[in-house]
């Protein structure tokens, strides 16, 4: 029926998603550290599977044309890639905002000078703790903490913007005030105090990592006090664990709405944890254009918007605020990625969150360190 055609075309155009704002490039899964909460998938990709330099450059070109504004070079440890400097230069040349997310144990003065010269805008350094012994135990890397401190000072001296990232859990959450003080002492413009997100390695180690409610409340109070004291000088971003939330986070600003993630081998995902979901045939930049993946691929469309939602989300007035929460968490805790995130108090599965929180009252079991081949 030809009469239908214009109407159909309109529907298709209306359904075309907004362009993505940010892209995370997981250049490699290689990393000298072994954090037990690493957000990488349990099945880590090997160096021989990684995309070559020209393929990453092509991905950057495509991303800029698609509307991406910010690119985050991440991993694993992105500095383990020898072509990081040319990739940063390429991205900066396209006018993209470039952010390096690094453990900083490889970030010495010559490396930093080369990155800064290539047009890097911002460096985010992850810290495992504020004291040497605690930090090096988490990363399972002796001497790492001292190297990070030295690198943070170099970043400041170079004038580049600096963020310190602290992933917090029951072994370091009591030291949130010291973390804020360290950010201040190092002259960071921003710090992130982010509780572990419990997927992948974090979920595997949840009983060893999840803080108690009382520990969390003390940390929250320290963050609020720090924000007030440092207003206008240092931004403090704060992420609580979903286990103590009543509303879920709007994970990635909604599935396939703002953000895309490219894995070392070139698979494209709506978030870095999505590889934990079964039943997806993730599209790859090796075979498909980024615009095609974003605008038309089935995996990006599957949980985009609100049409896929079950109750209670479907009729909830927060459905375009939190987009039903995190799909990876729904899958990890209910076995079905298409359910309401159990972090929501309205979810029929919400009780599993409280059970896990009770685990936090017991003594912590030992860590399972992140290693290629250690998830047994």
């Amino acid at each position: 029926m030809p009469d239908d055609l214009p109407a159909r075309r309109e529907v298709t155009d209306a359904m075309r998603p907004e362009p993505p704002l940010g892209m995370l490039l997981e250049l490699t899964h290689r990393c000298p550290l072994q954090c037990p909460y690493c957000s990488n998938p349990l099945a880590l990709e090997r160096a021989s599977d990684e995309l070559p330099t020209e393929a990453w450059q092509d991905v950057l070109d495509q991303a800029a044309r698609l509307g991406v504004l910010q690119v985050h070079f991440s991993g694993g440890e992105p500095m383990a890639r020898r072509d990081l400097v040319p990739l940063v230069r390429h991205a900066a040349g396209l006018g993209l905002y470039t952010n390096l997310i690094t453990s900083a144990v490889l970030l010495d003065a010559p490396a930093l000078a080369a990155l800064s010269d290539a047009g890097l805008d911002h460096v985010q350094i992850s810290f495992q703790d504020v004291d040497e012994a605690g930090a090096d135990r988490i990363g399972n890397y002796a001497g790492g903490h001292a190297k990070k401190l030295a690198a943070a000072r170099l970043v400041r001296e170079s004038g580049l913007a600096l963020t310190l990232n602290f992933v917090v859990h029951r072994h370091n959450i009591a030291r949130v005030p010291q973390m804020i003080a360290l950010g201040e002492a190092l002259g960071a413009g921003r710090i992130e105090i982010a509780n572990v997100q419990y997927y992948g390695w974090g979920l595997r180690n949840r009983a060893a990592l999840l803080p108690t409610r009382a520990e969390l409340d003390a940390a929250t109070e320290a963050v609020f006090a720090g924000r007030e004291r440092l207003a206008g000088r240092m931004v403090i971003d704060y992420v609580i664990p979903d286990y103590y939330a009543i509303e879920p986070k709007g994970c990635m600003g909604g599935w396939g709405r703002r953000f895309l993630n490219v894995s070392p081998a070139g698979r494209v995902l709506p978030c870095h944890a999505a590889e934990t979901l079964p039943g997806f045939d993730w599209p790859s930049v090796r075979t498909t254009q980024l615009a095609e993946i974003w605008n038309r691929s089935e995996p990006f469309a599957r949980y985009r918007g609100t049409a896929w939602m079950p109750e209670p989300c479907r009729s909830c007035d927060r459905r375009e605020i939190d987009w039903g929460g995190c799909r990876c968490q729904a899958f990890a805790l209910t076995g079905d990625a298409g359910r309401t995130d159990p972090a929501c108090a309205l979810s029929p599965d919400h009780a599993v969150m409280a059970e896990a929180a009770r685990e936090a009252e017991a003594p912590p079991p030992p860590f399972v360190y992140r290693r290629i081949g250690s998830n047994l």
């Binding site: 362009p19 704002l21 940010g22 044309r65 698609l66 509307g67 504004l69 910010q70 006018g95 905002y97 952010n99 805008d121 911002h122 985010q124 004038g159 580049l160 913007a161 963020t163 413009g189 921003r190 992130e192 207003a231 206008g232 931004v235 971003d237």
Partner: protein, 93 residues
């Protein structure tokens, strides 16, 4: 910075903050670490004058002349806007 704004200071974008025109969205964007603002028309006019050299007073004069608005009104708006952006970590004085 006190409330009776010192107009001799020269606001600047903080290191690591970029203000540029995005041809895909056909809009000006202000980019920072994990931050993104799409400034409205007024903010765009102000931000285009923020270069670390021009003083707050000069920015106000320029806008007041161009928009033919009372200088006091412009001064209050511009100062409030720049303070807001400073609080968000995008601008320094």
């Amino acid at each position: 910075m006190s409330d009776a704004a010192d107009e001799s200071v020269a606001p600047a974008l903080r290191r690591g903050v970029k203000f540029r025109f995005d041809t895909v969205r056909d809009a000006w964007v202000l980019l920072g670490p994990e931050r993104l603002f799409v400034p409205d028309e007024t903010a765009v006019e102000v931000l285009r004058l923020v270069d670390g050299a021009r003083t707050l007073g000069a920015i106000i004069d320029d806008l007041a002349a161009r928009f033919g608005a009372p200088r006091d009104t412009i001064a209050a708006d511009v100062t409030a806007l720049l303070h807001d952006l400073a609080g968000k970590g995008a601008v320094t004085f």
